[in-house]
Amino acid sequence: MSGNTISSSASLKITGGRLLDGHRSETPNRALLIRNGRIAATGEAAEAAGADQTFDAKGCVITPGFVDLYCNLREPGNGQKGNIVSETRAAARGGFTTVCASPETSPVNDSRAVTHLIQDGADAGSPIRVLPVGALTRGLEGEMLSDMAGLTAAGCIALGNGSRGVRNARVLRRCMAYAQTFGLTVMLRPENQSLAADGYAHDGLVTARLGLLGIPEVAETASVMEMLLLAEETGVKLHLSQLSCGRSVEMVADARRRGIAVTADVAMHQLVFTEDALAGFDSRFHLRPPLRSEADRKALVAGVREGVIDAIVSQHLPHESAAKQAPLPDTEPGLSSIESVLSLGLGLVKRGELTLAELVRGLTSGPASVIGLPASISQDEIADLCVFDPDANWTPSSQSLVSAGHHAPVLGQPLPGVVRLTLAEGREAWGGA
């Protein structure tokens, strides 16, 4: 990098990288010119233009900035676990330029006031775009409708239930019917709570051996089926969030063939790890939904490859260390994952499970289309970009993580893929290190 931090007023030329977005195949070594927060020129025109600053992206891949549909910034209310400044910086380090903030804060984001609080916090301290997701029901209690239209007017991009269920199917049906009135998207994590009960691990080989309380696959699949039928009946735009079972992928594919408006996402760690991660009672891998079998993992990867699963999410859920310092069943579920999403994905590419183009689609155009954002590298588009070196390595450690939570999926081992530059609306959100 020549000079200091890149500002939006100055122009920037990025040279030498391979361009890749979810809409077309890779283009080698094309220059980009960024001016006034937008892509002013590409290719020869950019090459010829003069610029205030230049960035040499030799050996790097340049993609649209990543879009995360499910992320917990922990603010307001859970400052011991994270805050908007710390977690959006962690996201920028991971190559993300847009994160959807889960409504599961304290208080819950079920009012304009809380939505504004999140937006004000982001305006003041976030290097990237924060899009709040409103609570589907008041207090996320699953009993009364939230002010969905009001939340949307205040800037919520969709309505969701975070990690909590809507226990009552009649309430869920009415939520969908009401959301459909205004053309809103509902983002739901499917889980039948009476079947999940007190479980905290996949009901399978590892729970049998270690005597852990299982969450059976049917706790998810029964709920997916119920949601698909209700979406079909109400016509709402349904987004199924954080799938964990192979059977769920099949059901989504079937529903699409029948014309139901459904999209879906999966957490990156579900594509990489399985129930075996709990074999040493490692509380980091206490996750909800739980990591499931190898067959489920393969089916989820295939879902991403075939486009049945539109988006890969971070499911970033940072914790203070005390939340994880207890016997596994007494710990809280969740990982500080957003900084290593790209690296885990590149691991899948290295092993031949995904192509680089499929990975980039799942992190950019896939999630962007769910919430109606553009995500392509073309002239006049907003300059939300990620420049990463796929061949460089980094080693996550609790000292080096930017997130306030230090429970990353991989610690103390080298991972491929280092983000050199994250540009959000033309401004440097992460400058690499």
């Binding site: 080989l205 049998a208 005597g211 852990l212 040493g280 016997p327």
Partner: protein, 343 residues
């Protein structure tokens, strides 16, 4: 991709393969299990002397940390530690620190600061002893006295000792475990021990609601019909049925359970005539076992209790031996480094 978590072996064995914690039977080989049984055999003789003490843990402090109530297991651990000449402290944690809001880690760090050498831990959550050994007090030997539904390795080993005393060994044995396998830490440890020691057949006999999913992966076969399951058995192990199971909609009634899965004299008659009857206790007479069977000639339930002391002496002395050897090894390495530094 595998997670970078410590395997149980890495945690409970020293570099030379000696025991330093006793958390689970997973990963312990036949040689080591046999070593535990042989050591226990040598301690049985101690219990028969008029002065029942050996000085192996003299000057050591053993803390019995029971986060879950228990009479029998705690008393046998206490007796075992005392017969090894240790100082013993008994703590019932449900009634002390944790009810004041102190975290498990803080309680343990305080006890470690009192120069404890060994914690005997019973806890309602699976994996609690692993957590303590790995993250809280790695310099204290941890003995698992039962954690959640996960493991009860000393109980399983005393059962193995009882079986070996009566059957001479494990080759060719047909063993059944009957009842609530799903909630049983005892059953999980027994299945593991029987497999490692070479039993020929391990059957679990229970209705579908009391079996974990994928139970066969533990190395056993499933039998729903007790009459079939009893055929040719050398050993039948009955498990205690907790009354809560009726409330959780796992079983209709005690009466139906007893009729289908209770060990009566009629059902025992279907096994090999020399089949022994075992039960980890406490017994629910008339729920999982008929009184006449529990008190009958084939029952070895009271031998199990006696053997419990010897097994716990064996495990405690071996784990302390491993801890001491490891400390000595580290000291030697340090001295060696110092000498090289001087040279």
């Amino acid at each position: 991709m595998t997670a970078n978590a410590a395997s149980p072996n890495h945690l409970q064995l020293t570099r030379d393969g000696q025991l330093r914690h006793f958390l689970t039977l997973d990963g312990l080989n036949r040689e080591l299990l046999t070593d535990i049984l042989d050591t226990a055999d040598s301690f049985i003789e101690v219990g028969e002397r008029s002065i029942k003490k050996v000085p192996l843990l003299r000057g050591r402090t053993v803390v019995n940390l029971f986060f879950e109530a228990s009479t029998r297991t705690r008393s046998t651990f206490e007796l075992a530690a005392k017969r090894l000449s240790a100082d013993v402290l008994n703590l019932d944690i449900n009634t002390s620190a944790t009810s004041k809001g102190e975290s498990l880690s803080d309680t343990l760090l305080n006890l470690e600061a009192m120069a404890s050498d060994m914690f005997v831990v019973r806890h309602a959550q699976s994996g609690a002893p692993h957590f303590i050994a790995q993250s809280v007090t790695p310099g204290v030997a941890i003995i698992n006295a039962g954690d959640g539904r996960h493991a009860h390795p000393t109980q399983a080993m005393l059962d193995m000792l009882t079986i070996r005393q009566h059957k001479g060994g494990f080759e060719g044995l047909k063993v059944a475990i009957v009842g609530d396998i799903l909630h049983s830490r005892v059953a999980r440890s027994q299945i593991r021990a029987l497999n490692e020691l070479g039993a020929e057949q391990i059957r679990v006999i229970a209705p579908g609601t009391l079996l974990p999913r994928d139970v066969e992966s533990l190395g056993c076969t499933v039998e729903y019909d007790m009459a079939k399951g009893m055929k040719d058995l050398d050993v039948v192990i009955m498990l205690r049925l907790q009354k809560e199971r009726m409330e959780g909609a796992l079983l209709p009634s005690e009466r139906e359970f007893y009729r289908l899965y209770g060990l009566s004299q009629d059902k025992l008659a279907l096994a090999h005539p020399e089949c022994i009857v075992m039960h980890p206790g406490p017994i629910n007479r008339g729920v999982e076992i008929e009184s006449a069977v529990a008190d009958g000639p084939q029952s070895v339930i009271l031998n199990q209790v006696t053997n419990g002391i010897a097994i716990r002496m064996a495990v405690m002395s071996m784990a302390m031996g491993g801890q001491v050897a490891e400390r000595q090894q580290k000291l030697n390495e340090l001295n060696e480094l110092n000498e090289r530094g001087l040279a």
